[in-house]
């Protein structure tokens, strides 16, 4: 197996991306890695470390974090994400991983790999650590701003296959993100989707969930339109940041706080461990005809390493064919 990694994508590219690839290999990762980007920069980041199983493919250009992705990809044929995705299309890699501009990763996947037959719109999973001690996902978190019933139904199916083949769950539970638990709650889209989800035999639909359920891991999967999902996941991430800063600056800030930190260190580690989501911060873009894994722009080596693991599991676990099969058999509303 070979996994193409966009070496130029992300806030800490190429150094942390290259370090992540090396970490994946030294920790026993079986897939070969193709680092795609500016050869000189990549070789500089590799230094004189063991490069076995790692090759470099040249791409001279990069889509910047704030560029308009579709325009950039159309006009510039030699971007790292474009070249890396083309490797998957040509069968020279089994998956692509990027910490770069998410819109560009989505656009490259749509243009180059296309959609899986029977899937109307792609969806991005937002992965979260939960207090239930297991990962959960919300989707769509922004691949498709507007959704209809059909789309939400497809998101539920795709995420179920993803949580099975990548995270090893059996019959992952699906919740419909809504304004209340009762079936009649929410807007027209939610009320109609509730009925459609209940009727879908291939899904373990348990009912409506609310915003507060997501961090609790009430269900393995929470389904919503891309607008709501995007606002929610950014809100949750922002709140996590606010608390991290408050714990660091307010609780452990002053001179007494520094003493408190010495005694509280084990506890801080316990909390960090519980809420650590490096291992599952990454998820494939669901619905495209090839494995394209999106990870955080701020990913460092350890998160990148786990993104490669997700790509490897999605490719070896047959995620794409599982989605294609489900798409062919799921009744449309």
């Amino acid at each position: 197996m070979r996994i193409a990694v966009d070496a130029m994508g992300g806030d800490h590219a190429p150094d942390e991306i290259v370090r992540g690839a090396l970490l994946y290999r030294t920790s026993g990762g079986p897939a070969d890695i193709v680092l795609v980007g500016r050869g000189e920069a990549i070789r500089g980041a590799l230094g004189n470390r063991d490069r076995s199983g790692i090759t470099v493919v040249e791409a001279s250009d990069v889509v910047a974090m704030h560029e308009h992705p579709a325009n950039a990809l159309r006009r510039r044929p030699d971007t790292s994400i474009g070249v890396a995705t083309a490797l998957v299309k040509r069968g020279e890699a089994d998956a692509v991983v990027s910490a770069g501009n998410t819109g560009a990763t989505v656009a490259a996947a749509l243009f180059t790999l296309g959609r899986i037959k029977g899937i109307d719109r792609p969806a991005l999973c937002g992965m979260l650590p939960t207090t239930a001690g297991k990962p959960a996902c919300i989707l769509d978190v922004g691949a498709t701003p507007e959704a209809e019933v059909r789309n939400l139904l497809e998101y539920a199916v795709m995420a179920s296959r993803f949580m099975e083949s990548v995270h090893g769950l059996t019959r992952p539970s699906v919740g419909l993100l809504n304004m209340g638990e009762e079936e009649e709650k929410g807007d027209r889209l939610r009320r109609e989707t509730h009925v459609a989800l209940r009727a879908a035999a291939t899904l373990n639909f348990v009912g409506n969930v609310e915003g507060r359920d997501v961090m609790r891991g009430t269900t393995d999967i929470a389904v919503c339109d891309g607008f709501t999902g995007n606002v929610l996941i950014k809100g949750l991430e922002g709140t996590v940041d606010v608390f991290r800063e408050a714990i660091r600056d307010d609780i452990f800030g002053g001179p007494l706080g520094k003493i408190a930190y010495l005694f509280g260190l084990l506890g801080v580690r316990r909390m960090r461990h519980k809420l650590d989501y490096d291992p599952y911060a990454s998820a494939p873009l669901l619905g495209v005809d090839g494995v394209s894994v999106v990870t955080h722009g701020r990913a460092r080596a350890n998160m990148l390493r786990w993104a490669i693991v997700v790509a490897e599991r999605a490719a070896s676990g047959g995620l794409i064919s599982a989605i294609a099969q489900s798409a062919a058999t799921t009744a449309r509303p």
Copy 2:
């Protein structure tokens, strides 16, 4: 001034509600309080404390937290929220405050007080403490599940008047909650609303904001449809709870944690103070023709006291007439 308080609404009614009313009075609150509910229970909660400025109005029935609000109000004429809202309609009170079933408070206000002329749909403010050290509001957080451009524009106008007359802000800044900062981001509703907000002369519209901006207080007001706002605010509250538990159990849980707590106590207080939102957790339902303040179901005495302060300021600051005037002069899209 007289403020009607639904003494039976909320998780800790009537004791904490009654205590909140007493706290309001003993801390110098100028308004008289009318406690509405089961007289015997209220008098029990009042005990033999100083009741000056406090009267009791009998209402034998209560809308429970999980009842269907409109049905309950239609069928049962003697609920505490129904009777309290009717006092405002008849001019026997200047505002109503409730920690009970939010849907019932909204339904009672709509049925009894009606909408302000020129306002299409009501909106509920979600108030948040922010790291900027000042309150911010998101609306709508669930009064109206589906919104059109006109509604979002009206929400922005109503919240501006609210932040001025109740929180004393001058030209409060308005952000449109969206998937990105760029004008062209989001679904059709957001793109069209962005244009309408930019054109509204009575607003201090600063552009799009994202989910992470809300807890940061990037703008004083964040505008969105009631579905998104409801999911987001419950998500944020859920995350705050998760961190509170983690700080208590993980960091300060074990024997070492208890020592850490001794040294970290001042810091914990500092953080609590920064994120304390009792003073502004409550907000009027905006768009109805009378002051109806909604507070948390889990409100205890201190939060209830502040809810009465919000009602008093909204009534004395002329919130309703300010909204009515803005509604008459704001150009519709």
